[in-house]
């Protein structure tokens, strides 16, 4: 499955597009990403699954695209 990163999260993960082993849901995906990129732990971001933000654990499919979106403050 595909993970898209934005802002500082691109630096932490080393790329804007990540290829990740399929995960059953977003909680497992976050645990997987935190294991791979420990700096992500404690960071503020929202997840969007297939271009829709989520507010809780959400099932994933092998073809899901998950975006990791941090807030920006700059103006």
């Amino acid at each position: 499955m595909t993970v898209l990163t934005f802002g500082r999260i691109v630096d932490i993960c080393g790329a804007g597009v990540l290829d990740v082993a399929p995960q059953p849901d977003t909680d497992s995906l976050e645990a997987h990403l935190h294991g791979r990129y420990p700096e992500l732990k404690g960071l503020t971001y929202v997840l969007a699954v297939d271009q829709k933000t989520i507010t809780g654990n959400t099932p994933l499919h092998p073809s899901s695209v998950v975006a990791v979106l941090p807030p920006f403050s700059g103006g």
Partner: protein, 360 residues
């Protein structure tokens, strides 16, 4: 109808009534920086009747690459003042009202209450959450924009008490709680490309015009992200958060809760300036140049100044009031403490690296 707007009056869906709606509209722009400058330019040129402008900052040389309303001649001048002058040159028909202070919860509801649409063009999370919550309480449409480095975000929030349970979205539906202080780099720390701020500021102006004219589909319930290096937009639909969720996720629900809400005041109340801005400030009338080093410290500053050592300032921090003060010391460390002491009662700047780093 005014020839000034002839080309937009030719647009399909845009008639004299559309233009009249704009001329009767009031838009508040919070922040006259990298996002605010381009947004203000286009809103003013398009003929928005009343524009309000909130900013407590002064023009610094490091602003000029992206804050395109300002020129070298504006260094050290209040941004509200310089922007209002530039905008009235651009379109004298537009009335510009300036609020040369930092928006706080004491004034936010009163200021925002007088406008039809609000643009959040601020540069810090404290202001963004304050503005998001104030707009949600007042049910005002809020055009959100933010940038970092080569990326940007735009959305339109409009909290409404709607019959039939239809969803409405606020800033907290996207980002429920502020990140920890220092977690997300500001433009000061992370850098920003001027044209990226220009693109996002222009998208904000466009969304404001769409909201006011009823044209097209505003970005309500959608977040549009922009990646300048990949030259890509990516859009996500927002999911509303549970209204019965945790209180801190939902934000203040009444004016009373808003007044008591603990917004972080994590920003300095004084500005740190470089040599060029320091020298520009020194050249201005009615600016007090203040050396806070102890008596006898060398080299003496080779320009007119007053001396009030930090040790004495600590005893009597209210010695100066209602002044514009630019503070310096030897290396820029003591002047920070002095600036913080003076900031409550004065408009204060401090020289970044002190006399050690000063050049003419």
């Amino acid at each position: 109808m005014n020839a000034r707007y002839q080309r937009q009056l030719l647009l399909p869906g845009w008639g004299p009534d559309t233009q009249r709606r704009l001329s009767q509209a009031a838009v508040l722009v919070i922040g006259a920086g990298g996002l605010g400058c381009p947004a203000l330019q286009y809103l003013t040129a398009a003929g928005i009747g009343h524009i309000g402008l909130v900013d407590d900052d002064r023009v610094s040389v490091t602003d000029l690459h992206r804050q395109i309303l300002y020129t070298d001649a504006d260094l050290g001048v209040l941004k509200t003042e310089a922007a209002a002058a530039a905008l009235s040159r651009l379109n004298p028909e537009v009335q510009v009202r300036t609020y040369p202070f930092r928006l706080t919860k004491e004034r936010a509801l009163e200021v925002i209450g007088g406008y039809d649409v609000v643009l959040d063009a601020s540069d810090n999370f404290a202001t963004r959450y304050l503005v998001g919550d104030a707009c949600a309480l007042l049910q005002k449409p809020l055009v959100y924009g933010s940038v970092m480095r080569y990326e940007g975000q735009v959305s339109v929030f409009h909290k409404k008490n709607q019959p039939g349970g239809a969803h409405s979205f606020g800033y907290r539906d996207l980002f429920p709680t502020p990140p920890a202080p220092g977690e997300v780099p500001s433009c000061d720390e992370g850098g920003v490309l001027g044209v990226v701020a220009g693109i996002i500021g222009n998208l904000q102006a466009l969304e404001a015009i769409k909201l006011l004219t009823g044209l097209g589909e505003p970005l309500i319930g959608r977040l549009l992200t922009y990646d300048a290096l990949g030259q890509r937009f990516y859009e996500v639909a927002l999911t509303p958060r549970d209204v019965n969720g945790p209180r801190n996720v939902h934000g203040p629900q009444t004016a009373g809760e808003f007044a008591a809400w603990p917004y972080p005041d994590d920003e300095c109340r004084y500005a740190t300036v470089d040599n060029a801005t320091f020298n520009a400030l020194r050249a201005r009338e009615n600016v007090l140049v203040l050396d806070v080093r102890e008596p006898g410290e060398l080299p003496m500053a080779p320009f007119p100044h007053e001396r009030w050592p930090l040790s004495r300032l600590r005893q009597s921090p209210d010695v100066y009031q209602d002044r514009t003060i630019v503070v310096f010391c030897q290396s820029g460390i003591r002047s920070r403490e002095a600036a913080a002491l003076l900031a409550g009662r004065n408009i204060v700047f401090q020289l970044k690296n002190g006399m050690a780093g000063w050049t003419r």
